[in-house]
């Protein structure tokens, strides 16, 4: 029994030695996505390739199932383990179902991180969030303030009154509102993520607050409805619509001038950062530990919290200068 254990240990040691000699030539990092053929993830792969080009000795394996299932991802992970890749960076379809397969990968010496959509802490070394609640809260009011040099009344159009994410972001926004003198939040209304209700609430804001300068909507249904309501009222450009939205959904409203800028994560940066982190962890240049920092190339460094989560950066701001590059991506 002891003999076999030793044998296996030897085999593993041998294997990892062989691997490290292969590493010297080229490190193989697998970028595993929820499903192939989704614009958002194709863009992330573009970012990963950018990181690989910068690093020089990295090969990116962009892969994922054909539909967004945990079973499909488990198959992909198993085949990556068999291929003996050096690192797996995954956006998970299921927080828990992937844990055993990823544990197996880590047991074989593969660096495992999750990004975008996380895996439970025991199934990965760290998780990269695109942004953090406080960064989002700050960004949504900053975008309004940037276009309102003299300050003015702004209102928030949220999803439902009980939506957890939106409430946290609005709280975070209110915490930093003092940094933007002259900006008054006059109302917070709820569109329930329904187009018609959001549209009506936006109309209501315009009629009950004649001096309104901006509507901040941290939800993708709300921001589109608000932009349409402002346009229909003939106030595009007068009342600014900003918040969180997707470039494809907002492209027409940026064209019409109803929205000057809005934010959401940049998938290219996300793929880039995930690759850089995987590289640094696999190389041993950084370790995933609480309060530890891991380099992300041009994006600086990510700091981890107690559950090994880190936030990449401020949400990325989209405006007329870059929307056309992104509107077909996601």
């Amino acid at each position: 029994m002891r003999k076999t254990t030793t044998l296996i240990t030897a085999a593993i040691l041998g294997g990892s030695m062989a691997m490290s000699s292969a590493q010297a030539e080229e490190m193989r990092i697998a970028l595993v996505v929820k499903a192939l053929g989704i614009g958002f993830f194709e863009a992330a792969a573009k970012g990963a390739e950018e990181a690989a080009a910068e690093l020089g000795d990295v090969e990116i394996i962009y892969t994922g199932p054909t539909d967004t299932t945990a079973e499909g991802q488990i198959e992909v992970i198993n085949s990556l383990i068999a291929q003996k890749v050096d690192a797996i960076a995954i956006s998970a379809n299921d927080q828990d179902a992937l844990v055993p397969a990823l544990k197996k990968a880590m047991d074989r010496g593969i660096t495992v991180i999750s990004w975008d959509s996380g895996v439970a802490p025991e199934g990965r070394m760290m998780h990269l969030n695109p942004s953090s609640n406080s960064l989002i809260g700050n960004m949504i009011v900053k975008m309004a303030a940037d276009h309102l040099p003299d300050g003015g009344d702004v209102a928030v159009l949220s999803a439902s009154a009980t939506a957890t994410n939106q409430n946290i972001w609005i709280d975070e926004m209110n915490k930093v509102i003092g940094d933007y003198p002259g900006i008054n939040v006059v109302a917070t209304v709820y569109g329930d993520d329904l187009s018609d209700k959001s549209y009506r609430e936006a109309q209501g804001l315009m009629s009950s607050h004649p001096d309104l300068k901006a509507i901040i909507s941290p939800t993708s249904v709300g921001i589109v409805a608000a932009a349409q309501a402002v346009t229909d009222e003939g106030k595009a450009g007068e009342i600014l619509v900003t918040g969180l939205g997707l470039p494809s959904e907002m492209a027409a409203h940026v064209d019409s001038g109803a929205s000057k800028s809005f934010a959401i994560w940049n998938p290219i940066d996300l793929g880039y950062a995930a690759t850089m982190i995987s590289y640094n962890l696999a190389k041993g240049e950084a370790t995933a530990s609480a309060d530890g920092e891991i380099g992300m190339g041009r994006l600086g460094a990510v700091t981890l919290d107690d559950s090994m989560d880190g936030a990449m950066s401020d949400p990325f701001v989209y405006d007329s200068s870059n929307i056309n590059d992104f509107k077909d991506i996601f």
Binding site: D196, S207, Q228, S248
Partner: protein, 324 residues
């Protein structure tokens, strides 16, 4: 008939009182501009309520209207995005035809298989939503993919009102003529009022119900185009839950769930009642939780009122012989 007229007048009076009450708090609400915008905003609900009314008259109910709207809306949006050359009037006709087809599925199941309409339309409600997901793959059709004419049509002003409002007005006129002046419309009342008697007068109950479902489908299809062009976006969840507003509008408007009773004016007033509440609540600035509670109370109050007014006194069939 006299009975419903007085009811409609009462509802109109309540509606005016409601507008007055809101304008106490927010004076601008009663301006012509604001009221016409309320009507415009309620147009889609009015169109759907007219279709629902036709179905309810025959003692049926159509819970699939909002899903029908969403499916047709998604189809027209996708069609417009991929073949921008199709003229918009043709697209609207296609939307109504598709809506009619979807409505006829409900109608056939109710007519030929005799399944209770609430079960049939509860089924198609989810089926239609599922189909939207299948054809769209969960993706949105966004404003920049629709061509300008597609989005501009419902906003185009004629005589001071946008076409969206005119669509509602034309639907009201057509429904009025259809329900009051044609054999088809009268048969809907007959079927709901007393199905047995309707059979004896030579009316096919099943076929009449089928017609009502097709009519509600046509109007849902029309509303589907109007919805996606008004909000300039189409996705799986558009108008989710809207079928309940439609039924509520009919109930408030005095359309009897027991069938056979109700007027076009009632359905329109019921829809406007909800529309005024929906548009007033954002400007009077009260908590969103109160908003839901207030809408709910209005519905219950209307139903209580309906139930009371519908309770007919017992009929004396045989009078006691009087002293001869």
């Amino acid at each position: 008939m006299r009975h419903t007229v007085s009811r409609d007048l009462l509802l109109a009076f309540i509606l005016l009182a409601l507008v007055g009450l809101v304008s106490l708090r927010f004076p601008e609400f009663a301006s012509v501009k604001s009221l016409s915008s309320v009507f415009n905003d309620t147009s889609i609900l009015i169109i759907l309520a007219l279709g629902q009314m036709a179905v309810i008259l025959t003692r049926c109910i159509d819970l699939s209207m909002a899903s029908n709207l969403a499916l047709v809306g998604m189809c027209t949006a996708m069609l417009n995005a991929s073949v921008p050359g199709i003229p918009i009037p043709l697209l609207i006709v296609l939307a109504m035809v598709l809506g009619a087809l979807l409505g006829s599925i409900n109608g056939l199941l109710v007519w030929k298989l005799d399944i209770p309409p609430i079960v049939v339309t509860l089924g198609t409600l989810t089926i239609f939503r599922g189909v939207i997901f299948l054809i769209s793959d969960g993706q949105w059709v966004n404003a920049h993919e629709m061509n300008p004419a597609f989005k501009a049509l419902p906003r185009f002003d004629i005589l001071g009102l946008p076409i969206l409002s005119w669509a509602a007005i034309i639907s009201i006129a057509c429904s009025y003529i259809l329900l009051n002046r044609t054999p088809l419309g009268r048969s809907l009342y007959a079927v709901g009022g007393n199905p047995n008697a309707a059979v004896y007068t030579g009316i096919d109950v099943g076929r009449s119900r089928f017609n009502a479902f097709v009519l509600s489908g046509v109007l849902s299809g029309l509303a589907g185009y109007l919805w996606v062009s008004r909000y300039a976006v189409a996705y799986v969840d558009i108008a989710a839950g809207f079928e309940l507003d439609v039924v509520a509008a009919c109930v408030i408007g005095g359309i009897s769930i027991a069938g056979g009773m109700g007027s076009v004016a009632g359905a329109v007033l019921g829809a406007l009642f909800l529309g005024v509440i929906k548009n007033a609540l954002p400007v009077v600035n009260i908590s969103p939780f109160w908003q839901q509670a207030i809408s709910g109370c209005a519905i219950i109050a209307a139903v209580i009122f309906n139930a009371r007014s519908e309770r007919r006194p017992g009929r004396i069939i045989l009078k006691q012989a009087e002293n001869v």
